[in-house]
């Protein structure tokens, strides 16, 4: 039986879909059976990022309304035999699915897949509730700017009320020169405000956007910094202890605490 991880943020456009696609791809690279689930009904993107848009026949709402079986709606990835996508409907809205129905679908998927990665829509309403309903774990994505961190804080509070494990944090689109000059929040500050465990830091990398436009997740091209960051996040999800490297983050929050305590 696999585990379901919801990727959420509160604020829109911070990189939930990019993160979902790349974590999913990285886990598949490690040979895991992965199903990506797009719950952003009406604004689906995950299929485009994965380059699978042209293969969609049925979607999440079709499954819920029993126009097809769950396995009929799943699309196999171009690159991996073990990676699948359950696309969202584009013509409906968030209210066409209920949390209970999501729960059922996710638990069915967990029977067949090692990891079910759920891409959550922005906001705190119905779409969020649906996305979280079936999840065992959660990852909160934020950018290094105040409004995004504020919304992440709100979402973490809401997740605390749900039946999911304590969320982990990804800080996405970090630009080191800005943090150093004090024009942007640095990762330490964000982690100390949100007070949850950091699972990865992804730099702002134009290759991410280029890759998205090609329908090929950045995690496929091993040379870029962003790709390494996503692969490392996947390894941490798999339980490996990969230190937050200097590229990802210089002088982490936790090492800072230890300095205070006089430990090594």
């Amino acid at each position: 039986m696999g585990e379901a991880i919801v990727i959420t943020s509160g604020k829109g456009g911070v990189g939930k879909t990019t993160t979902s696609a790349n974590i999913g791809t990285s886990l598949a690279l490690s040979g895991k059976k992965v199903c990506l689930v797009d719950t952003d009904i009406g604004l689906r993107n995950l299929d485009v990022l994965m380059g699978l848009e042209n293969r969609i026949i049925y979607d999440l709402v079709d499954v819920v309304e029993e126009r097809c079986k769950l396995h009929q709606a799943l699309i196999k990835d171009k690159r991996f035999e073990c990676l699948f996508l359950l696309p969202a409907a584009q013509t409906k809205d968030k209210s066409s699915v209920q949390p209970e129905q999501m729960k059922k679908i996710i638990s069915e998927l967990k029977q067949d897949y090692d990891y079910v990665i759920i891409d959550c829509p922005a906001g705190i309403e119905q779409g969020f509730k649906n996305a979280v309903a079936g999840a065992d774990k959660s990852i909160v994505v934020t950018n290094p700017e105040i409004s995004s961190v504020r919304d992440a804080d709100r979402i973490i509070g809401l997740l605390e009320q749900e039946d999911v494990e304590a969320p982990k944090l990804i800080v996405n689109r970090v630009r080191n020169h800005l943090a150093k000059s004090g024009d942007m929040l640095d990762v330490d500050e964000i982690v100390s405000i949100l007070a949850i465990e950091l699972i990865g830091v992804v730099v702002d990398d134009e290759n991410v956007i280029k890759a998205a436009n090609k329908g090929e997740p950045i995690a496929m091209s091993p040379s870029s910094k962003a790709s390494i960051a996503y692969r490392n996040i996947a390894r941490r999800i798999l339980g490996e202890s990969v230190p937050l490297s200097t590229i990802e983050e210089e002088k982490g929050f936790f090492s800072k605490i230890k300095t205070l305590l006089g430990m090594r």
Binding site: R150, D151, D153, R154, I156, G157, L158, E160, I193, L194, A195
Partner: protein
Amino acid sequence: MAMAQKLQHNVTIKGTKDGLVLLLDDLCSFEHLLEELNDKLSDDHGQLLNGPLISVIVKTGNRYLTDQQSGLIREIIGQKKNLEIKRFETNVITVAEAEEMKKEAQIMRVSKVVRSGQVLSVQGDLLLIGDVNPGGTIVATGNIFVLGSLKGIAHSGSSGNREAVIAASVMKPTQLRIADMINRAPDHYPEHGHEMECAFISDEEGQILIDRISIVHKIRPELNRL
């Protein structure tokens, strides 16, 4: 029989420099008590019960009075126009009242991060071990102590206690409220000087002030339980 009852001392009237103290026996029946109170007050004691306004403290010992019973006593005393009941003093309260008192006197210890959109509300004092993030709110009927950063809204003395204080390890709130008074934060915090501070209502200034935590014992000596 009637004479014998009259001789009992179920109601004792004592004069003090602040007025009168009525000591009501707590073992006799309530009817006897009312009867005797009535008699004693009707007996003219000269200037004491007729002169200028006198304040009265009613001590009921170990007798529990219902609202209705204390109403009857008020009625009798009220017949004497120059007597004004200042308060009832009793040794006994109901369990419900006791629980309420206990809640008001207790320190609620909570360990969590109060996040944007969350409200943490307690009766009595609040000891929060953790931060209050911007957009988060903490409320207490008593004092508030934050072992962490206060960056959201804190409201102490929420049911009207203007003596309540708000203390925090790092004091950077967006807004402070004490009882019915509200102060918002300055638009920019200075880089330094917001650690270990305490907020209180200053009667001279007529607003909430923030000062070093070390001066609190002077401003609010009643915080001490030692």
